[in-house]
Amino acid sequence: MNRSPFSNPYVLILPGFLLSAFIILWPLVQLSQLSLSDVSRFGQIRGFAGLENYISVFSDPDFLGALWRTLIWTVGIVVGSIITALPLAIVLHQDFYGRGLARVIIMLPWAVSLTMTAIVWRWALNGEIGMLNSALTGLGIIDTNIQWLAQASTAFPMQIMIGIMVSVPFTVTIFLGGLSSIPDDLYEAARLEGAGAVQLFTKITLPLIRPFLNIAIVLNTIYVFNSFPIIWATTQGGPANSTDILVTYLYKLGFRFGKLGEASALSIMMFALLLLFTLVYVALAMRGEKE
């Protein structure tokens, strides 16, 4: 029986392992090579360049702008979605009529492709004919149309708002998992001791969903950091690169400006950062496993 390949775990794992390792490692090797080379527009390697590509990425003011905006983007969306998701999860955890429906509605943004969501918002935020302006005018909140996507000062906050909206469902689901792991008798016991609602929240709920909070922060950071479609499909990083974050800047660098060497250097740096986030996640997940 043991001679059958179907009882040898290494044989069983091999095809999946090879394919998924190949799709990450092959591009990674290419990127490292390109990032250290003098590369033509068409990907031809003209010679060794040392760290020149890395240096020229750092001396580009557009990169520094995008880097700063990536920080605002990531922190804004992660914090925003956690602050929004926690009360939502607490409400959705209660027993009330129509809870199933409420959960489906809250989950909806997760189900729609980011591209489509962004395109719909691009239309809704249109300055002249967009429905947000017409809705706000109708409600008497504004009296002149706002050109939402025409300048970064309104476009970027709107993009962050869309980002929060699409991240909330995933975050709520993680919190719901956390809340359902807290035994009810803990609350009952605390209530008998005379604890109020605020105390129940800060002394029981918050500490006990702490691991779930950590996971939500790390996973959201990874997803948001990588998120490309919302910005690309609303403004493509414009006007004048003023809403670019690292991923859209990377795409432009590689596929618009044809600076493949610099784009590869940026990729490698982003990959390293992402790997760091991921290792934090793995450490958290494995720690949860041991407990």
């Binding site: 999946g16 395109i119 004919i129 005018t137 493509q236 590689g254």
Partner: protein
């Protein structure tokens, strides 16, 4: 008024602004999609009449049919490939003890988190090297390979919940491991495999940046790229067609997803604990 009704009132009152905000884009999509072409550029909410015909004219005007077919092809084939190589791997993880198990699980966790976005230039080179740029199979290949980490992870977490006894009984009866796997184990694993396959399908269906990079001719566009191409860099955008296309491309998948999302969470959660 009973306690539960009171709670229902407060809960919905709290949820109301979120529900409004979430449904707003859907309302925009729907209202624009059924507006008469002449009214689309007027910022009114209610159309003078509902023009259902827009959905028919959209089909031709937006090249919807071919893009729909491309999306279905990409999502089905990439899912099939990912599932086929993931079943044995997930089976091995859930049934056998072996030295590299811990390493393989960490490898999966890490690669599940790595987005194709940061590798996009390397992936582009890969596709050029393989000679499949502008070929729909380039996207199939990349999606399949990138989905493996997720599908193996989901499958192994469900496979671990299927009791071992039946296969062991089959071995006792003299069935070889392959036969035990196909005849005894796989039928029990069908629900887990279908749920995982649907999520892999939805991932591929919604993917944007890889398709944007690899597919540059309209004949090979998938739906997100097709709809995006109707909006980006154009002077006149036929918004009623765009919204009708977005609606048709989105709603079926959204319903399936909303219906199945609890399995996704359960699968990922069991995977993280077991």
């Amino acid at each position: 008024m009973s306690v539960k009704w009171k709670r229902t009132f407060w809960s919905w009152l709290f949820l109301a602004p979120f529900v409004l905000l979430i449904l707003f884009p859907f309302a925009v999509m729907f209202v624009t999609a059924v507006k008469p072409a002449t009214e689309v550029l007027e910022p009114t909410w209610w159309p003078s009449e509902l023009v259902w015909r827009n959905f028919l004219t959209m089909w031709e005007a937006t090249n919807f049919g071919p893009a729909l077919w491309n999306s279905i092809y990409v999502a089905v084939v990439s899912t099939a490939i990912a599932i086929m190589v993931s079943i044995p791997a997930a089976y091995a993880l859930s049934r056998f003890r072996f030295a590299a198990k811990g390493f393989f699980r960490q490898f999966l966790l890490v690669s599940q988190m790595l987005s194709p976005m940061v590798l996009v230039i390397g992936l582009f080179k890969l596709v050029v090297w393989l000679g499949i740029l502008d070929n729909i199979n380039s996207v199939v290949f990349v999606y399949a390979a990138f989905n493996i980490a997720f599908t193996v992870w989901m499958l192994q977490s469900y496979f671990s919940t299927i009791p071992k006894d039946l296969e062991e009984a089959a071995w006792m009866e003299g069935a070889n491991p392959f036969k035990a796997l196909v005849k005894v184990f796989l039928p029990l694993a069908v629900p887990a495999i279908s749920v995982t396959a649907i999520f892999s399908f939805i991932n591929a269906w919604n993917e944007f940046v890889i398709a944007l990079t690899m597919l540059r001719r309209q004949e090979v566009y998938t739906l997100p790229i097709q709809v995006f191409s109707l909006v980006a860099g154009r002077y006149t955008v036929e918004w009623h067609h765009v919204m009708a296309a977005a609606l048709v491309a989105t709603i079926p998948v959204a319903i399936i997803f909303a219906w199945l999302q609890r399995y996704l969470v359960r699968g990922l959660a069991i995977g993280a604990v077991k």
